[in-house]
Symmetry: D2
Subunit: 278 residues, 4 copies
């Protein structure tokens, strides 16, 4: 009954393969210094993608809304300097053309999972899409959203479980680990896990990271920041860069226990011309 | 602590006044015959707005997606013939300009509550907006979404409670009647109730309609169809047109019990040139 | 498909009849003065039952746990002085025999809805039972719990909807008004509504009371206290006695709008020998 | 801020130690043959406890309610034959005295988490208690329930996360893996995970088992049955005995990845006088 699993290729990285695709970085790109520091550390510990928001849709209108285009440029620059690919969110159809040169994997956020015109517009491009589950949406609705993209001709969809809304508010959302296995069985696409948004507090990020890897996730999307207490958005859930390596070491051990892997250090390209900081 | 209540004027109808604004019609405009039949009946029983979707974002891609522009034209025509205003959903910024001539009150659907670019685009027009609560969203997030519109300069926002997602699946959603009072107290905007989407089955629509009116709602948004069993979308939750009058009579009695009213019959303009069917 | 409705008789009061059964009083019996003050006011405004907890199962162990047997005695005394019946919770089989002389309607609380031995023990007595819905339980599970009582031979079960747990925390629980109509249609037993526990704050009690009455509830269970700010438990959700009359007046108007009634003042018996305070 | 972790000793097994405590067996004891078959297999793969219900509180009254005392006797007999301890549920205070000789770890089920008299009664005995989280209860309410036991003088409480009720019904409940880390940090007691009740379908039990172990659980409670399709209760979620060994092998690898262990085979005592089947 389960469909055949499919991997999704983003440049030279295959998501859905034996190796987990780790995507990490700050919630939002805030400055050159910040994003380069993040890129250096995450690439040194096995990440293949640098994340960082340029256009933020925050829940409330009077909050930091991102650096916009400047953020995209910095993201790409920092990623290239460290041999990383980029993943960031697009919020509207109008942004697509101008943003695509800076993005290797386009994130469609939880609040946009039901934005059908945007799903279709991304379905008509040849760009890999990371489709986050709506926090109030069932697994089936999430897979239907993926089908809107697939039906327009774009087969490169990666799903991301990031927690659903429940009565329990000790965490910001409740990570639905079973959804990883269920989504993979039903649609065959790779599924990664975002432990940061589910946890809401960095204290519980490790627990959810390891649970996500054990549940069979094909990758991780993790928020990490050089100085989380001064982050302009989502600081409480960001892991300090100084602890990112330990988190990856723990995740790597669990990955190996379930027959997967997380690369140990920076990709070869980085070692040639990048700087590896801690 | 509660803010001062504000009414919103849509052409000659004031929402948030003593009289409840009833909006009724089919989920989707399906044909001239269907939408005219609905317009005749709903106007005869006190509705001031004709609802009917032209562009439907259904959860699954392979389902009826609406008549598009033809649907908008039919909606306007049927509404005018019966002295009604129109309310229908817009799904994307690109649709706004072409659609506005046909729409008196623009509905922003539950799945789009977090679509910030669309909220902002509607905030920059002088068009009244009906903002449905996201079914996975808190009252505060809903009010924040309203603020995105208000902050762009458009003060004419009407809120719509339509049920939230809970573990109870005997109804499609759980109507949060307290949200009516809470939203009004916190932001002062008018709040209407959509009992149809919450119920999911027509059997429970009356219960939720009356509860909504008793909770202080400033209006109702109700799905009704000449032949619900043959409806192309959401048939199970549509009240047959033949029962719409009884439903309004019951709602009117409760409205009067809480110091409000629902007009008894068709608006004057209709009586001159419209046809009143059953 | 809906079953035939059945009324439940508790002494001279019929629940499920045209007249709504109002049950009101403090969360817990705290003192003679308090419970007599409550009895006087609630009876003067149409209540037929005095509520007040003697044994409280609070969520946390280090909080006020009730006056125990003394509480039961005071409850009965105050009720008799004002022509009221009593309703209070029993927590364990061991309490039944000693408590029954003081209780006309035995409440089985939300946290005990799944306590099968207690359900069965109450099923083997001829005592009317008020079965609250578990706040994490579906309508079907609630009706199954009722069947445990019915199957032991006790037909006198009254259901009470008191809100379910959802992600929305602006209220303590979300009152599921559709559950009133659904439970009545499926099992035929009377269903009353507890707006106080759902609201969690007295500010929203009126909204939920009126919504409950409009939804077809056969009665109300309301917390009211002479001085809510000094209540030993659940003060924030208690309506001050000084506002109870207005609340009942509002509820009465809605009851009449749906073809029901709430008696206007104290029952005849009270007028003979009780005192009516405000 | 996190409290010091405490281990709980049950006979010769320490829960909360480096080695995970695996508890496995059928939902209900159905026959001598069934429970002995289960005991043989689970002990052969590292379980230290045999589970099996004797008194079942099923949601609906007209379903198999367990073998009662005979079930307890069979459970003990099968456990002893294979060097296992027993864990089973007690539903009422009245059952405690007669049941204790057969039970090493008393389970207090999800539906009884708020049964305060039962919590207190178990608090007054020197018997280790396995306290399952109520499926509609917050982590804090669960820890408060534990305190009712601790305060009566019984320090031997083991917590069990078994899934909470959410809108997602693809699984029966949503396993809250973060609750493992949070409960341990807040109260210091050992926490085990029940993947079977959360999954509701055996297909997802492995995913949740591994996620539970990775999240830091101190043990597992798993339903396994010789012939799940003929099980008298909860068959769909039971893993066939023939697959139990593979499940434990997978769990063991993850346990080792997080610095824990699961014993490889039957405990020494079994090897002397038990039979080890597959």
């Amino acid at each position: 009954m389960a469909v055949k699993p499919r991997a999704v290729k983003v440049c030279d990285v295959t998501i859905g393969d034996e190796a987990l695709a780790v995507m990490a970085g700050p919630c939002a790109v805030e400055s050159r210094e910040q994003i380069f520091a993040a890129a250096a550390v995450v690439s040194a510990h096995g990440a293949r993608f640098l994340r960082g928001g340029a256009y933020k849709t925050r829940t409330a209108p009077n909050t930091f809304q991102g650096l916009g285009r400047k953020g995209l440029e910095l993201l790409r620059e920092a990623a290239e300097a460290h041999g990383l690919l980029t993943v960031t969110e697009i919020l509207a159809i109008e942004e697509i053309d101008a943003s695509l040169p800076f993005i290797d994997l386009v994130q469609l956020g939880s609040r946009n999972m039901h934005n059908v015109p945007l799903l279709r517009a991304l379905g008509r491009r040849r760009v890999p899409v990371l489709l986050k589950r709506g926090f109030g949406c069932t697994i089936d609705e999430w897979l239907h959203a993926a089908e809107y993209i697939l039906q327009e001709g774009n087969p490169d969809v990666v799903l991301c479980e990031r927690g659903i809304r429940t009565f329990e508010h000790a965490t910001r959302f409740t990570l639905d680990v079973a959804a990883v296995a269920i989504a993979k069985a039903r649609i065959g696409l790779p599924v990664i896990v975002d432990p940061s948004h589910a946890a809401g507090q960095r204290e519980w990020v490790e627990c959810l990271t390891l649970a996500g890897v054990a549940s069979g996730a094909d990758g991780l999307l993790i928020e990490t920041h050089p100085d989380p207490d001064r982050a302009l958005s989502d600081g409480p859930q960001a892991v300090p860069l100084s602890r990112f390596g330990d988190l990856m070491d723990a995740a790597r051990r669990v990955a190996e226990a379930v027959g997967r892997s997380i690369p140990c250090g920076a990709p070869a390209s980085t070692l040639l011309h990048g700087t590896v900081a801690t």
